[in-house]
Symmetry: C2
DNA sequence: GGACAATCGATTGTCGACAATTCTATCCAC
DNA sequence: GTGGATAGAATTGTCGACAATCGATTGTCC
């Protein structure tokens, strides 16, 4: 079978990987098992499987060149993680997150990232600040180049870096998990007109606040930013619905 | 095998159960599979297995009267959930959460419950308020009777009711998950001298704030309460360490 | 034509057997 | 004794076969 926990620093907490919280790259065994979970996960998150698409064990086994046993283990894991939905005797399918749930997820994200920003403010180093500003510059370039996908990736990088600075593995893992579930919604917000410019400004304010070392300022800046994201998402969904 | 997702209202999100967020009791099939996961989970959370204790598949299969396949599925699930740690070819053991991690978990809880309280304030009904006050009275009685365990259970009930009122399934599920991981630490805070009285006062303030319908007030009251819990836990751990 | 029952194919669930790996105890050299 | 190799036991990992279940299709009766 194949679904291990592999220790990541001190925290084996709710294995999800994707990010290295304290900077160490999670070395994983070359074994088929673990990476199978990763591969399946990646396929789902990247959208290579559609939402609600059935995941037939035998097919997956053939496609991924693995045994059914291993596939089943990966599916159980993904089910527990929320990316896949399994029903008794009826198999697994890619879980579809509803609009409502996407909003809830985003709200949780606000709460967690607020807290992470608060901690980051007390631990940030001048080097970190410089690196964040570097990312900001790249983001500006992408906006000017009219490249929303590249911008979005840098946006993720920006936030993930703050998570790492905060040094709160539990919260960082949770927020990363949530993100992979609602990833399908991110473009709805970024593509809103006028959003990139405003978003850039907000990110700059976040860096300033963190650089000041004041936890309250960091928390506030992050909340201001993310609650606007929530608002934008709400509008985008409403528009999409009415349409 | 046996590790299904069973829909809970709208949310299949990160199945954990334990609480009914919207009031509906999670009906589960009488099948062996699902309840096996529950049983194992309960056994771990209740402390019938010690932290770090090895969980040998064959033994568990005998004890629970199930096949090894089913046990393995449950273990994979519990691993993903963070209650169990599995290592390749070396089996599973009950995960030991460190002091540091317990603190992190508690901090996440603060962030999430703050948000939940905020939402609860906007949705609470007079009936809810009355019910919460009822719980408060019972709690008072337990304190006077010198019954910390009963108090602790009511405390959980109190908070869970607020989660339900908030109507945020994602956040509620996460917070419930976290709690089951750090349950071993809860007594450290409750048994601190003078803590029960102060705790009672704080809970009363929370109800008042929620009853006022003001989100900010609800959030603030909850934060005040929980950050004190964090502080208490910090001290308890420090004392325990030095000892 | 529509409701209902029976059948069949596809898929999941479970078990047992065996391979692979790790752990433990023993033995031996020094 | 101590360290290190070695054999054996214990345990996990994987596979294949078969039972159980579900969904769809077909057939039947009214």
């Amino acid at each position: 079978m194949a679904a291990y926990s592999y220790p990541r620093g001190e925290f084996g907490f709710m294995k999800t990987a994707l990010i290295e919280v304290e900077g160490q790259a999670a070395e994983e065994p070359a074994r088929g098992g673990v990476s199978l979970y990763r591969k399946l996960r990646e396929a789902i998150v990247d959208g290579r499987f559609q939402p609600n698409e059935r995941l037939v064990e035998a097919d997956l086994a053939r496609v991924f060149g693995a045994g059914r046993t291993a596939i089943r283990a990966a599916l159980v894991r993904l089910d527990q993680e929320g990316l896949v939905e399994r029903q008794p005797n009826r198999g697994a399918r890619v879980r579809l997150v509803s609009d409502r749930e996407a909003l809830e997820i985003e709200e949780v994200r606000v709460a967690l990232e607020q807290m992470l920003a608060r901690h980051a403010a007390t631990r940030i180093t001048p080097g970190d600040v410089a690196e964040l500003r570097g990312i900001l510059e790249e983001m500006t370039a992408r906006v000017e180049a009219g490249d929303p996908i590249g911008y979005s990736e840098l946006n993720s990088k920006f936030h993930e870096m703050i998570w790492a600075i905060a040094g709160q593995g539990v919260a960082a893992t949770l927020v990363a998990n949530l993100k992979s579930q609602s990833i399908r919604f991110q473009y709805r917000t970024i593509l809103q007109p006028g959003r990139p410019d405003r978003s850039l400004r907000e990110h700059r304010l976040i860096v300033d606040a963190l650089a000041s070392g004041d936890p309250d300022a960091g928390e506030t800046a992050m909340r201001d930013h993310l609650s606007r994201v929530v608002e934008t998402l709400k509008q985008a969904i409403a528009r999409h619905r009415g349409y």
